[in-house]
Symmetry: C2
Subunit: 402 residues, 2 copies
């Protein structure tokens, strides 16, 4: 009883005001005018209560957040960024444990209660990234959920030894098998996809593959991913991140791909990149393909942008998709909450009775208003306990400039 939390005068996803009793970390009662003797009572002043936001695609291990401003160094190509990053990780001492903790707490301050993070595995850094993010996951276990993708940022086939490290990463506790541009980076699409799908099969874990390859090249890789998913019976356990090829000019080819994705229940993770073709949210929604969203790298060696605010990501997703009506803008936020939860298979997620009380409270007139204005988060609640208030986490970040 002492842990009960009563939220008075809240509007669930913008609906009429009600009160919510949270007990044992779950939503137990939703009814106006509750007078239960809860240990903690919060007057929510007619604020909008949303389910905890879901950061479904980021890179916790390599943000520069809190390390002082560092001008962008990398050249324009994808490979420039990969090479530059590998060098700067050492030169700048980008410590995965420290940095992942900083970013996770930043996310929490903005109302994110679960994160899927790709974490680099390569023959230089080995498992240091995985170990660092696992340490953060454990340290912050009470306030944020972190799922780790073992991510071969520097390629699998082009860097012998990487696959073995990925196996070790999975044994060490990584949750998802990652992949990356099997043609353009690895130069051996069959080789990479055979290897990572085999690893997924052996470990019984899902797959999440970065696919930046544009146009027909990306479509070819996507075909191969769909075939692997079908052949191994991994329906519902595969995510493709970015999937720029779905923005290709040949719309009928893209729609055919989307139909196949729907059949295999392959989900898409997007960043709503403004400078590239991207999967269109409406195409995916119509076909029944789940779209989730993420910040991608936040202020890292890949680029200076990002603040881990998934309400802002919903706005960027809305702008990218030309969403203007309330249902459309709310769908953008759905991708940044329910969509991510579905992809991460978070149990009992949402705003219904019985759901785990991962919640975020904002002052706004409507859900769309919250997305476009991105107000400070009044409360962030994790499993029924207040984890952040007025944009500040109760646990503080490691010292700045370390």
């Amino acid at each position: 009883m002492t842990q009960d939390l009563l939220l008075k005068n809240v509007r669930l996803w913008g609906a009429a005001a009600t009160d919510i009793l949270i007990r044992d970390g779950r939503i137990e009662i939703i009814a106006l005018g509750q007078t239960a003797e809860a240990a903690h009572v919060e007057d929510c002043a007619n604020g909008i209560l949303l389910p905890g936001l879901i950061e479904a695609h980021t890179h916790l291990d390599k943000t520069l957040w809190g390390m002082g401003w560092r001008p962008h160094q990398a050249g324009p190509l994808l490979i420039d960024k990969i090479e530059t990053e590998r060098r700067l990780k050492t030169d700048w001492n980008i410590d995965p444990a420290r940095q992942s903790k900083r970013q996770a707490l930043l996310s929490l301050s903005h109302g994110t209660t679960a994160i899927r993070s790709h974490v680099d595995v390569d023959t230089e850094i080995g498992l240091k990234g995985i170990e660092g993010v696992l340490a953060t996951k454990q340290d912050l276990a009470d306030i944020i959920d972190i799922e780790i993708v073992a991510f071969p940022q520097s390629g699998v086939m082009t860097r012998p030894g990487t696959l073995e490290l990925m196996k070790e990463a999975m044994n060490a506790g990584a949750h998802v098998v990652g992949g990356l541009d099997p043609c353009s980076i690895d130069r051996d699409p069959k080789g990479q996809l055979d290897a990572i799908f085999r690893l997924a099969e052996q470990t019984g874990k899902p797959v999440d593959i970065h696919l930046h390859e544009p146009g027909e090249l990306g479509a070819f890789s996507m075909d191969l991913i769909i075939e692997q998913t079908r052949a191994l019976g991994m329906r519902g356990n595969v995510t493709i991140s970015h999937a720029f090829c779905l923005g290709m000019p040949d719309r009928s080819r893209a729609m055919d791909l989307i139909e196949q994705l729907a059949k295999e229940q392959i989900s898409i993770a997007t960043v709503a990149t403004a400078s590239r073709p991207v999967p269109m949210a409406e195409d995916l929604r119509r076909a029944g393909v789940t779209l989730c969203a993420g910040s991608d790298g936040i202020r890292d060696t890949w680029g200076p942008y990002g603040n881990a605010d998934m309400l802002e990501r919903a706005m960027l997703l809305g702008l990218r998709n030309n969403f203007r009506t309330d249902p459309d803008v709310e769908h953008a936020l759905w991708c940044c909450s329910y969509g991510g939860a579905k992809v991460m298979k978070l149990p009992d997620y949402g705003l219904d009775i019985g759901c785990i009380a991962d919640l975020v409270l904002v002052e706004a007139e409507s859900v769309t208003h919250a997305v476009v204005s991105r107000p400070q988060r009044k409360l962030v609640i994790k499993r029924g306990k207040v984890a952040a208030r007025d944009g500040v986490t109760l646990i503080r970040v490691p010292d700045a400039h370390a």
Copy 2:
């Protein structure tokens, strides 16, 4: 002497710290360690001083800011938005004087010190929009500069009587002759362009034309605009807003157009729309075409987005153009400051000795850091006087929900 303002410990556009003495509304001395007996001294704590931001494309007369949240009503087509807006202006009592004042003060709170606003002129609203924004311009003359484009939102040729109203608008004090999609909206490109360029010639005023038309249609209209500019000797006095056609797939056609724009010193105004092809900033910069930027409509019947923050617009411009390095991101901010000032021909704009002291102070480690983090504006200074502090204008907005 009593009006002197000494800004201590500021970094001009991110350079080494110095002090700035402002006298008679202008920057008089830039030198470290000044001890002048200024009437007002501000310790700027090593903050970055930028020239006042320039909102070069917006619609002050029709924002819904401060009117309570109103869900988006219009259908997907451009013409749906035009028709819906004309209806709602009356139904919702969108008063141009009140609303333009609200938005202008919102802009000022974010460090904008000059605005070019398109203001609707049509046979229903007549000159009410122009009169309302002129009233705001006068009311706020000490704290923000407003330039008015007489904008035929509902078409010129398709709505007889509009051209006469535009003439009246120019006589009433509008500064720029507007135009809109001469093919797709007006169905008579020669007719519209002849009419508005004639009006510009007669009044000796510049032209700023909305051109949403995509691909070859927009390119055709742009050809006609370039021809008119050349024929009438209006070099350096024409702006094309949006110019989506410059994002057309045929890059050589687009580059040919850009070369012609450069020859006629026609500038481009962009919103950095994420969902449409847009002019690429780098193409324009290389060719010597000035690019300025704006918020477009802010929370109006066209869409729910926008907050009038030109630092955020610089971020969106950077994201849209895939700008990552400091020089590139700083160019995005250049477009939102110097670019706009150039298009509006603001005299003595900038951070040099002798410049008019329109300034904004932010806490950030570098200019790029300011763009990506968009911190609250510590000070906004208009002609040497503090006009806003810590994100709050000294003059307050009209009552909310009026």
